[in-house]
Symmetry: C2
């Protein structure tokens, strides 16, 4: 007879770490850095704090030359002391399960890095944190109990805070490699982050690649503007995105409300009149207690909501980069001769609002300023050459390019850069695409590529086509000028 | 202050269903079919039963024309009645968390389909099952309680068995679409399954695409051989794949054993002498109770195992297709003029044994016999044209082709089909690649593409290069003959 068993989410993700991006030693180094770094940006920028983040990769164990310690410090909002063990010791535990644009969304990232380090070095994770209103700094040394998906606190401490410092320092040791590949992955990630986050101060300390006697290398991305994007605001769900399971979950959170009150308080874009319209269609008493609705009534309510028209979801839960910042970033880093950008109007898919933004850069010193990964992707192409810089919720996406819906548009046969947009076979163009949403439909929990959701696909296509048209206008003018000068 | 919460695995996968392949209505139809179908093949072939599987897609609700009912019946080993609610109502619950080649591996597939159907139709899942030695057939109607990740049994029944029938019937209603796209996805999947499983009887009943008056269409893939592959055997873990977390989990399963006994009984390729060698290196008393090892001793044991040489992992846990079956399948279905196949020797990665197999087909009626998805992928290419048929643990992989390590090899610049292997730009070749392992390193839980694990990459490259060489030999002979005839 077969034997069956239940697995905890911690054991599941530990055993199947490739689905979270931990597919090799260099990818594990990269993924660990980005999970902590994205947590730090979520703890600063999203709360209106100008980010200052220090990332340090060092070798601290002479007995184990393949062990690397990754330390990330930020000036963010910190984590309350009683929450820290669960935030870092429990898989699927998060403050980001909300309708608000954040980089994090799964409640898994930091835990994946901790599980990985724990598995191959046995060394515990260390964290210091202090929230903005706290008078103390808290310290924990912890590991994850895999079978129970629980934290195991090995040590804790606290000290009175001697300054106004607030933020978090995380420290993890893992078995990895410091190769050209790892260096390229991480430096490209930081460089592309800096393109769209000129308000962030980023300090990167890494093992030296140079001569002996100098064991650390420092790279700094200086803040060049104090202007932060408007932080996103948490919103209520939109009725378009509702399904039966979601309705049941929401009802369990407001059991004593009347059905009418439940609709108005639980959803955005539902006022008195809209609620009455829905309830009339569903043939349900407005005053009936929502937790006493029968299954049949729930299905009628669900159908009625599906058949009702609403104003589109609010975009206040989103925080786009903005055309200005995209143009500045591309100009600064790529030193191209022509740069333009577009931020499309908000749309939505399945109740989740999203905004597509794009940038285009051409000519000038573009080719020599492209990073290693962009240069590599160009080598595989036949001209004209298109270097694609993908972003989702302000995270640079470096891998699985050809599985991304964005790539499928920029590379499709319909997007004829040569014939329609008048590029020469030797031309090089950089295209930046950013998808911002309360839920980015990634293809995997490693957040490397976006699934082909039709509404998003259409918006990306429209954005890139618009910029390609503007480039064509520029090239046509430029060529006319050159021909005129040659006469 | 931020609010934090824990999410159950059921709610997590329900909210993030795109990471499991549920990215659109047609993909949801496809994924539902394949999750049930793969369960049925695991319940038959893996146990030495000649599979007979009936898949039926029908519209059973005149009030809801977008609701489709998917029914899959198999003659497999069935599920014990007390286990059924958990097997289908609890995410991360499985009989396949073992070292044995099966299609299933996550304990998630059937539950994803059930969560999807439940979410948009509210209709419960139905199952009938009877194990081979049981005298009764059991019936359950159930749903998944998302917040607790538990089954909710709405109805159950049992009847005395009137025949020798054994197996399982699953029935799920979901909101989907029956479009050309859905039809192509499912028919290509079944066709490609039939290529490598000529021992399976597959009956597919679908909504008619033809004239009114005929509401169902039947497609049959007849069994053409009674010869089954040798079923895989469950094996113990191999020491190469061990890590600290795994050691701790294994020790908790044999707490009272001596450390020496633990090594011999827990691992394959570890006998008396090997165990003593490891314990000497780790400086641990062979007789010491394994659950009393300190953390320091555990780390020494782990390091000692890492530094010891062992015979490669046993391949008895694997069940390759075999060169004969691959050639027969390609010949039958593609009617090519030239067909060859290779089954490489077993290798391993991270303690998991794997076998790469490949097949190649050229000329004859190949082009007209390729399925829709293969034809589509060819349209995007410049000649010579390579139609890639990917398989992992006998599952056809249809999507995310360009993210797959197999594609990266067959399409890399180093694989010059034109110059090295002498194909003409108008030539069409089909390449079949199968990766069989106790753990296929998929990139996502939707099982569509394989991660670039170096050991696997090397084996796929060697297999395809060998077959390309054999094709070149064939083409060289053929052209010599043609030139001789023309004289
Ligand atoms: N540097 C930090 N500053 C403040 N809070 C943090 C920091 N790092 C982690 N957290 C908190 O810990 C929680 C868990 O982090 P984790 O990375 O595991 O998941 P997540 O960021 O919510 O989602 P994802 O898996 O997508 O990254 C976060 O939701 C956040 O509340
Ligand atoms: N048709 C079937 N016949 C016999 N057992 C089945 C059948 N379908 C499912 N099961 C049992 O139910 C369990 C759960 O199935 P499920 O598809 O959810 O997960 P899995 O097959 O183990 O892994 P995966 O998520 O990779 O598919 C299986 O492990 C198997 O034991
Ligand atoms: Mg995170
Ligand atoms: Mg399964």
């Amino acid at each position: 007879a077969e034997s069956f068993r239940q697995m905890s989410p911690a054991e599941f993700f530990y055993r199947n770490k490739e689905i979270a991006g931990f597919t090799s030693a260099s990818r594990a180094m990269y993924q660990t850095v980005r999970e902590f770094f994205e947590n730090s940006l979520d703890a600063t920028e999203v709360y209106g704090i100008l980010p200052r983040i220090t990332l340090r990769i060092s070798k601290e164990d002479p007995n184990n030359p393949s062990y690397f310690t990754v330390t990330v410090e930020d000036n963010g909002i910190g984590i309350p002391s009683t929450i820290i063990p669960d935030a870092f010791g429990r898989v699927l535990f998060s403050s980001k399960y909300k309708l608000k644009q954040t980089r994090g969304m799964y409640g898994l990232g930091a835990k994946m890095a901790i599980l990985y380090g724990q598995q191959n070095t046995g060394k515990p994770f260390e964290i210091y944190s202090s929230t903005m209103n706290s008078k103390r700094v808290y310290f924990y040394k912890l590991m994850i109990k895999m079978d129970k998906n629980e934290p195991l606190v090995l040590e804790e401490g606290e000290w009175p805070k001697s300054s106004k410092w607030h933020g978090t320092i995380v420290k993890l040791t893992l078995e990895g490699e410091w190769s050209k590949r790892t260096r390229d992955y991480i430096s490209v990630y930081l460089k592309r982050t800096a393109i769209i986050a000129p308000y962030a101060d980023i300090i990167f300390i890494s093992p030296s690649t140079e001569a002996e006697g100098q064991d650390q290398e420092v790279t700094v991305y200086r803040r060049v503007t104090n202007k932060l994007p408007v932080p996103p605001k948490e919103t209520k769900p939109h009725p378009i995105g509702v399904d039966l399971e979601m309705l049941k979950l929401m009802i369990s959170e407001r059991p004593s409300a009347s059905t009418k009150e439940f609709l108005i308080k639980g959803f955005q874009r539902v006022g008195e009149k809209k609620a009455e319209e829905i309830l009339k269609k569903a043939n349900i008493e407005p005053g009936k207690k929502v937790s006493s609705l029968t299954n049949i009534e729930l299905e009628r309510l669900y159908k009625a909501m599906k058949e009702t028209k609403f104003i589109a979801p609010s975009a206040e839960s989103l925080s786009p980069i903005g055309e200005e910042l995209i143009k500045i970033g591309l100009k600064e880093v790529l030193q191209a001769e022509f740069v333009d950008a577009i931020t499309r109007k908000p749309k939505s898919y399945g109740g989740h609002p999203f905004i597509v933004e794009a940038g285009i850069a051409y000519g000038g010193k573009l080719l020599e300023n492209l990073d290693e990964i962009a240069k590599d992707s160009i080598k595989g192409q036949q001209g004209p050459f298109v270097a694609l810089l993908r972003y989702a919720n302000k995270i640079p996406l470096l891998f699985d390019e050809k599985a991304d819906v964005i790539w499928s548009i920029v590379n499709s046969d319909e997007f004829s850069w040569k014939t329609t947009y008048k590029l020469d076979p030797t031309d090089v163009v950089a295209v930046l695409v950013h998808v911002a949403s309360t839920k980015v439909p990634y293809k995997g929990v490693g957040k490397e590529s976006i699934a082909p959701v039709e509404e998003i696909r259409k918006e990306v296509e429209a954005a890139v086509q618009e910029l390609a048209r503007r480039l064509r206008v520029y090239l046509t003018k430029k060529r006319k000028k050159q021909e005129a000068q040659e006469k």
